[in-house]
């Protein structure tokens, strides 16, 4: 700390007292006998503060004015000869930093000396408590906002990161509304429609119709295929076997089966039909006559579509709102039941299924409009 101070004091006795005090305080005191002497050495001494003894000539008020004229911001501390608050306040109004009272002692002057290097102004507030409340409210609101933002962000981040991905099946609208069978070929999807009595071949890329085959003699109720054959089950109970050529040439036909099957599939070894109304699943020999081998009772609630692959039987069950997986060896036991999100639509009726390459394909109608979609096989 810069410790040079100037002391204006005419009395030798007072000088002696003050010299000892300021020495003890660690100040480098430069004494002047009067104002003229003080101003003469002021520029050279460059004191941090001026202490001036009251009662001399000129009066302290004039000393204050002159000193402040030379150094407007220098702290000036009058040393009063007696405790006079009114005079002290007047001197402070005139520019004194503070006033020391008599008797001048080290204890009395220590805070004044140490404080003398700092001086600014009084802050004014119209209503500090209200301001503080507003500040507190603003701080709380800000904290609440950041807490909410952080919580929401964390929640959103956690939701995005940890919640299971919603399965959005790829859905395609069909320009016909009564699909009864669906077959997945290498580069196309084949769908039969009973109302228009046709086979619609859709492109795999954009699901546009690439070919329509009219079936004037057949009203298809179910359809399935193998590597080299296509089976069409008619509403009369007859199942036709056709080639997978351009015209789906008929090869053979069964006698009318009873009950009339409305679902069919070939697992690579056996042929399966289903009568959805009774929930009867029939295992058949894959010959031309599709001779019945064994009947099973569907173990779910309601079966509306049916298919199989080389490992499992699959069924769509609107009452369970699920896809049901069954064993080929024991179709009366459900292996897996997996919720089907598409059943969120109450008007959806799934009427055909196919399984290929780990995907399950569905065709049906929803509110009078045909649609097809697929999802991954449940594990």
């Amino acid at each position: 700390m810069f410790n040079t101070i100037q002391v204006i004091c005419a009395s030798e006795k007072d000088k002696l007292i003050l010299r000892g005090i300021f020495k003890n305080l660690g100040a480098d005191a430069v004494f002047a006998s009067d104002l003229n002497d003080a101003l003469a050495v002021f520029e050279k001494a460059r004191p941090a503060a001026v202490f001036t003894a009251d009662g001399g000539e000129p009066p302290v008020e004039i000393q204050l004015r002159e000193i402040r004229r030379v150094a407007p911001f220098i702290p000036v501390i009058p040393l009063l000869k007696r405790r006079d608050a009114t005079r002290a306040v007047e001197l402070m109004k005139a520019g004194a930093m503070d006033c020391a009272q008599s008797p001048w002692t080290e204890e009395e002057l220590r805070p004044l000396y140490r404080k003398a290097v700092r001086l600014t102004g009084t802050p004014l507030e119209l209503d500090s408590s209200a301001l503080r409340r507003r500040r507190r409210s603003a701080a709380l609101a800000l904290a609440a906002f950041f807490a909410f933002a952080g919580f929401s962000g964390g929640l959103y981040y956690g939701y995005k990161k940890y919640s299971p991905k919603a399965s959005h099946p790829h859905t395609f609208s069909l320009p016909y509304a009564h699909p009864t069978g669906i077959v997945i070929k290498k580069d196309a999807v084949l769908i039969s429609d009973w109302f228009s009595q046709g086979l619609y071949e859709h492109s795999f890329k954009n699901f546009n119709i690439t070919k329509v085959t009219s079936l004037p003699q057949v009203t298809p109720a179910a359809m399935t295929a193998s590597q080299d054959a296509l089976w069409l089950a008619g509403v009369n109970g007859v199942i036709e076997r056709r080639l997978l050529d351009a015209r789906y040439t008929q090869v053979s036909r069964t006698p009318a089966l009873s009950p009339v099957p409305d679902g069919a599939c070939f697992d690579g070894l056996y042929f399966w039909t289903v009568h959805s109304a009774s929930g009867v699943i029939t295992k058949r020999m894959p010959g031309d006559a599709l001779t019945e081998m064994k009947k099973f009772k569907y173990p779910g609630k309601k079966l509306t579509a049916f298919t199989c692959d080389t490992r499992f039987l699959w069924a769509a069950d609107p009452d369970l709102k699920a896809v049901v997986k069954m064993s080929l060896d024991d179709p009366e036991r459900i292996l897996v039941r997996s919720d089907l999100d598409a059943y969120a639509s109450r008007t959806l009726k799934i009427t055909a299924m196919a399984a290929r390459d780990g995907r399950l394909w569905f065709a049906g109608e929803d509110g009078g409009r045909g649609l097809a979609f697929y999802r991954d096989e449940p594990k």
């Binding site: 405790r83 006079d84 608050a85 009114t86 002290a88 306040v89 402070m92 109004k93 503070d98 006033c99 009395e108 220590r110 805070p111 004044l112 140490r114 404080k115 001086l119 600014t120 102004g121 009084t122 802050p123 004014l124 507030e125 119209l126 209503d127 500090s128 408590s129 301001l131």
Partner: protein, 105 residues
């Protein structure tokens, strides 16, 4: 932060009792309900004092306040947190401060 301030610390006369000569100090901050007083005189917490000071063109005489908190700084000065006791005096202070502050406040 409220940056409104007087051009210097406001000097104040401090009356502690009728029997003793008054003391002095400066107002570190001032609001209608509270003030901070800086003085090298020591006063006890809880004591009721009367302040006289001038704010702008208004002179306030014997504004009664209670010392709420006392802190001594490293220089040896005492910083007193004061609460004004008389609502009528506080209202006068409010008007004076409002008149002292610039119109934009």
């Amino acid at each position: 932060m409220n940056l409104n301030s007087a051009d210097s610390y406001i000097p104040a006369e401090i009356k502690t009792s009728l029997d003793l000569p008054p003391l002095w100090g400066r107002l570190g901050s001032l609001s209608p309900g509270e003030a901070e007083l800086v003085s090298h005189f020591e006063l006890p917490r809880g004591k009721v004092i009367a302040l006289s000071f001038q704010l702008g063109r208004s002179a306030f005489e014997e504004i009664r306040a209670r010392i709420k908190k006392v802190l001594r700084d490293e220089d040896g000065y005492y910083n007193y947190s004061l609460v004004f006791l008389d609502p009528a005096q506080a209202e006068l202070l409010r008007a004076a401060i409002a008149g002292t502050l610039p119109p934009s406040v």
